[in-house]
Symmetry: C2
Subunit: 518 residues, 2 copies
Amino acid sequence: MSATKMNGAESLVRTLIDGGIEVCFTNPGTSEMHFCAALDRVPGLRCVLGLFEGVVTGAADGYGRMRDFPSATLLHTGPGLGNGLANLHNARKARSPVVNIVGEHATYHIRHDAPLTSDIEGIAAPVSDWVKTSRNAEEVSRDGAQAIAEARKTPGRIATLILPADTAWNEASSGATVPSVPNPETVNSNALDECVRVLRSGEPVMLLLGNKGLRAGALEWAGRIAKHSGAVLHSESSAARTERGAGRVGVTRIPYVVDQALEVTRPFKHLILAGAKAPVAFFAYPGKPSLLMPEECRIHKLVGPEHDIEDGLRQLAEAVGAKNIEPERQELRRPEPIRGALTRDAIGASIGNLLPENAVVCDESITAGRNFHTFTSGCPPHDWLYGTGGAIGRVLPEATGAAVACPDRKILCLSGDGSAMYTLQSLWTQAREKLDVTTVIFANRSYAILHGELLNVGAVPGLNTRTMFDLENPSLDWVQMANGMGVEAAMADTAETFHRALEKGLNSKGPFLIEARI
Amino acid sequence: MSATKMNGAESLVRTLIDGGIEVCFTNPGTSEMHFCAALDRVPGLRCVLGLFEGVVTGAADGYGRMRDFPSATLLHTGPGLGNGLANLHNARKARSPVVNIVGEHATYHIRHDAPLTSDIEGIAAPVSDWVKTSRNAEEVSRDGAQAIAEARKTPGRIATLILPADTAWNEASSGATVPSVPNPETVNSNALDECVRVLRSGEPVMLLLGNKGLRAGALEWAGRIAKHSGAVLHSESSAARTERGAGRVGVTRIPYVVDQALEVTRPFKHLILAGAKAPVAFFAYPGKPSLLMPEECRIHKLVGPEHDIEDGLRQLAEAVGAKNIEPERQELRRPEPIRGALTRDAIGASIGNLLPENAVVCDESITAGRNFHTFTSGCPPHDWLYGTGGAIGRVLPEATGAAVACPDRKILCLSGDGSAMYTLQSLWTQAREKLDVTTVIFANRSYAILHGELLNVGAVPGLNTRTMFDLENPSLDWVQMANGMGVEAAMADTAETFHRALEKGLNSKGPFLIEARI
């Protein structure tokens, strides 16, 4: 290769770097070897290895949520992509921007049906907003530029570029420039007028916020509207990232449990949507509705995730004359620690007592954490990341990616033990990259949520359901597993030992894990 | 529900049991709750929990390989299936019979796009030979019966039945009977005549065996043909299960490395295929061929995996007059242990020295194990399972499933450290089910194969490739990780300590892990 020539892989790496991609979460294989070599030759992309692709894609989700900008993933053919599928599902439902690069056999090799040959486009399609297989080395850089642009479209999308090995190793001329990314849509004037009328109707209104409507700026405008009109603010359940805490406009989520959600929505005649969709049950249950709102409640969409949500709320605030209203803000208020048994409330109180300013909380605590929001709403400003796609095994990878995205912020990762086992390999990446993540594992030693669901269907646990729902026999020892991956860890089985362990984790740098035996 | 009535879930469980399904490898969620309850109510299916779906589907592959009969998996919606995708890819390439049951939202709930809503059929299609979504509770049992029949078609197929929650909870009338499964095809007489002519031509012939052509009975016939005609026997590289050892007709695999494979196939003018396909490079490389045989070599397909392979070989043996020939058989011969450093050869020698009769070896040793076959060919009769689909993370689950399938046989699981990290949750299932698996982890602390591949493309490791290919910093402690999941473990860093550890594992019951520091 002469100095002015490069191969397709190098043209793609240059394109990614020129396009602003800083990090590549990766687990490569032989098909990606020329791309790997190019990552050495062209400096500028930080490679972060995950020892399983679910870690890789979940980290890209966490990174995208925190940066509002894509990272790249590097995945090995269809099975590597398959391993990352669940967390790409979560990322897509979170509207996180991600650029996947998936290695494929050389174009001429595919027809021979080698062991790793698979329908990569078919595997990618259900979790991607955009999929393309590069046809030759000359087109790779343009395809890569297009992938970045697609990922960056509002609100954030999953773009998957499939890279046959020969398009990486053949000669190419140069990198490509990322096409301009369209601005988000602005609020439709009819929608705006309709929402103004609703707010002035005197009837009870819920303003349901989602997506970037849960960032501090948007919440300010929503708070003004609420204060002025009497509308009640709520957050969608599947909130990808909420900026909350003292000084900010607070908002509570629609509950997960169907009957509780129906209770919350019952008083309202109108539902204004700003970045959210109308609340839907996580699962269907016999005899219960799918839509979690009164039948007579009318839905008015102000803006969706594809819009500039903050601007839409600002326009609505101005239109109803709330521009200069001072919204209700959350006061600074931390709970005192609770002593004695290690209850869910004791854990919540310790988190509320200790959470550092500017922390990022990645929450997959499932049953254990349903009340943590009440203990933490008055903490100094912080971000809270919830599940969006319902696929468990999200949060250890997400915390890993959030820590890469925000090296100066403390990441608090809250996970059920069942969920954490899905992608425990994340701990090794946290150790290697010295990421500032404190992980709390809620070791209830069961898929506790399923025990509740079994009761819901009127059954009592028998041999097979106990086998399937309990994580006992043997018990998992999280301290040993974390140590085995190079992460310091502690076990806590009282409120006091938990509080001290959490204090240690939050007040020191680097990864730390607490097995909370609840 | 009256005594004569049942719901769809119960009708499906009854159908599975009546259809001969004995084991359900499972990781369920809320959508599958009625199915779970039915598994309690109707006794007869053994549920084996995996703490990640890659364990579940890989175990089903191992079970199917050993039983030639399907188990069921129970997976939670699209993401749960996605987590199991890579090992379903492997299972499909192994032609293992598997019946997947994938829970889905209630039919009327899907349109609401709840968090877990996904294109399950789309996710299933690339790794399934048959996919169906049940439409209502009445049809569930018939669909389940069809799924079993589809999975059982020769040589073994992946059947995926998607079970919307309301088809499980609504009322159904009864279970269904599995349709008759067609017999495998018999050898085509023209193909037979052609192969007879080739064997009598006096030109050099390779008889390439694959799939059930690698079982002892088929190998007997192949050995007679070889002895009589001078044809040379080889096995496909991706051999799902080979019955080998003392007293059997031995067969060596086509090597993984392209140049070595070309060297093996170079002398031959004819290639007769019996259950295998013509050898193909695992990956393409610039300037190297995809098909690993001389251009002038002619291919003759005697039988494919869809045929009765043993019968095809028998007919060929009879047609060439080799029916009563005594084939070359492998002599009983064990190597002596090697002392000193823990080399690959020392490990191979210890395995060859100690492997128990009737053992099942699940091999994903990748670079470390390329010579193990020479050390073990003269061991007492045993089975050897290789990778078929190239997706790593196969073998700990496979060993788990093989142990469930064959409780009276010792399972020896050989895994690279990189591969083992993919599905290490398998160890917990082995501990819980007290499975008789000895696992050897080759702790070379790198994706060693990728270092070789990087050299192949003429690059030297830089910062990013070292980051991506090395598993150092921190090192993984397999003893701690195994202990954390309830599995006894030992570290070995000399030939002597390895030998003693292997002896301990193979001579005691239950799971045991050895971290072999090579």
